[in-house]
């Protein structure tokens, strides 16, 4: 492993961070809509979003990336690989985050909504000012847990053929024939990104569990 190889890995790392950020940001926005639809108390809307979540939680992320990648090409969209992967990750994240936040919204005591209704707050205000802030807090450990899952998930872009951290590692390993060293370093880089998040999530969970007692 010379300086060139390290630089190549760092370039891959940059893409891993970018893919994670894009997936988490847009997936978060879409996920909020999914969560609201899932708790809308409109039967049809709830059913459809439940199906949407079920499909993404019941199929491998790798297949989702393949289908989006080739599906977009099929409808004539000639997109860069990173855009296609970003769209795939966004859809994936929207389903998982939607489900996490649905659970959090439902975990907010019913009395909160009732009190807000009794104060004649409308739906937007009830959600924005009363329910969502509490749900956000409840969901935080699971949301962080999913972010870790998403960062690790970006590695599958490597199989689709996009050069992020894992694929960069794979390419170097094929060149210098030191797979254990290379994948050890690659693993360590993921670990450095994910472990602080995992620890923070666990810390929050303990904190919330304590205050709930």
């Amino acid at each position: 492993m010379g300086p060139d190889e390290y630089l190549f890995l760092l370039a891959g790392l940059k893409w891993t961070v970018a893919l994670s950020a894009i997936g988490f940001f847009f997936g978060g926005i879409a996920g909020l809509l999914v969560a609201l639809a899932r708790t809308s108390e409109l039967r049809v809307v709830e059913r459809i979003t439940a199906g949407y979540i079920g499909v993404f939680q019941g199929t491998p992320l790798l297949m989702q990336l393949f289908v989006v990648y080739y599906g977009l090409a099929l409808i004539g969209l000639k997109l860069d690989a990173w855009v296609a992967v970003s769209i795939g990750l966004t859809l994936h994240a929207s389903a998982y985050l939607g489900e996490i936040w649905r659970g959090a919204i439902e975990a907010v005591p019913k009395g909160q909504t009732e009190a807000a209704k009794a104060l004649s707050l409308n739906y937007t205000s009830r959600m924005r000012d009363v329910v969502l802030p509490q749900a956000f807090r409840i969901s935080l450990p699971a949301t962080i847990g999913f972010l870790v899952q998403l960062i690790k998930g970006t590695s599958l872009a490597a199989i689709v053929g996009f050069t992020e951290l894992t694929r960069a590692g794979n390419m170097i390993s094929n060149q210098i024939f030191q797979p254990l060293l290379v994948f050890g370093i690659v693993g360590a880089l993921y670990f450095i990104m994910c472990c602080p998040l995992t620890l923070y999530g666990a810390h929050l969970e303990r904190k919330f569990a304590k205050s709930a007692r």
Binding site: V55, L62, M63, L156
Partner: protein, 222 residues
């Protein structure tokens, strides 16, 4: 857009794909069994009196949980021959799945054992049962019941991650579908169909777990 969908290669490859579904199912099943074994062993070591052993388990769990399965499977795939172990891709994939799932299982099982009140164990001891009997007859079933939902979703995740084993060409659904895809170039058709297969497989897994749960945990709780 003037592309017409053509599922002919999928239909021609159907016998192979269905067989590969079985491969995925078995891969997942073997991975789970290994994960449970590692999970139980890990929990015992995790609470051992020998401190370095405890730290080893904690370290193992954190390393596995904070790195991608794809990197883990590559690492194991290349590490085994260096350690003098020759394994085919499929057993290698089972090993990787078991190690990955085992790390999660350790945390889940540990939570389950901790959820059993001390009074339950004391009641067993006071009746003259040994520690191992207390675990086997008193702790195990209620603990399993407590963790069953999280164990189920973890094992569905494990089932889905078998597709990543295609990276080392283990025998399972994704690698077979990749072969059909590269022969026919009907990428979307192949992957769309295979995605549906996965949906059925994970749905089946969940049904099996639910059935098991309904049969085995049929006692009422307050």
């Amino acid at each position: 857009m003037n592309y017409t969908l053509d599922f002919t290669p999928v239909i021609e490859g159907l016998p192979n794909l269905l067989l590969a579904c079985l491969g995925t199912f078995l891969l997942a099943l073997c991975g789970m069994v290994l994960a449970i074994v590692i999970g139980i062993g890990g929990v015992i070591l995790r609470d051992s009196r020998f401190k370095p052993l405890r730290w080893l388990v904690i370290g193992f769990v954190e390393v596995i949980r904070n790195t991608p399965f794809l990197v883990q499977i590559f690492f194991i795939y290349f590490a085994l021959p260096l350690a003098g172990i020759r394994l085919d891709p499929t057993p290698t994939a089972i090993l990787a799945l078991g190690i990955n799932g085992g790390a999660y299982a350790i945390e889940i099982i540990r939570g389950g054992v901790q959820s059993i009140s001390k009074g339950q164990m004391e009641a067993g001891l006071a009746l003259g049962l040994h520690k191992a009997q207390v675990f086997r007859f008193i702790v195990l079933k209620p603990a399993l019941r407590a963790i069953f939902p999280s164990l189920t979703s973890q094992f569905v995740l494990l089932t889905l991650s078998t597709s990543i084993a295609s990276a080392i060409s283990a025998y399972e659904l994704t690698s077979v579908s990749q072969r059909i895809e590269s022969d026919s170039f009907r990428s979307f058709e192949v992957y769309f169909t295979v995605t549906l297969f996965y949906l059925v497989i994970s749905w089946l897994m969940m049904r099996i777990f639910a059935l098991f749960s309904a049969r085995y945990f049929n006692y009422p709780v307050k």
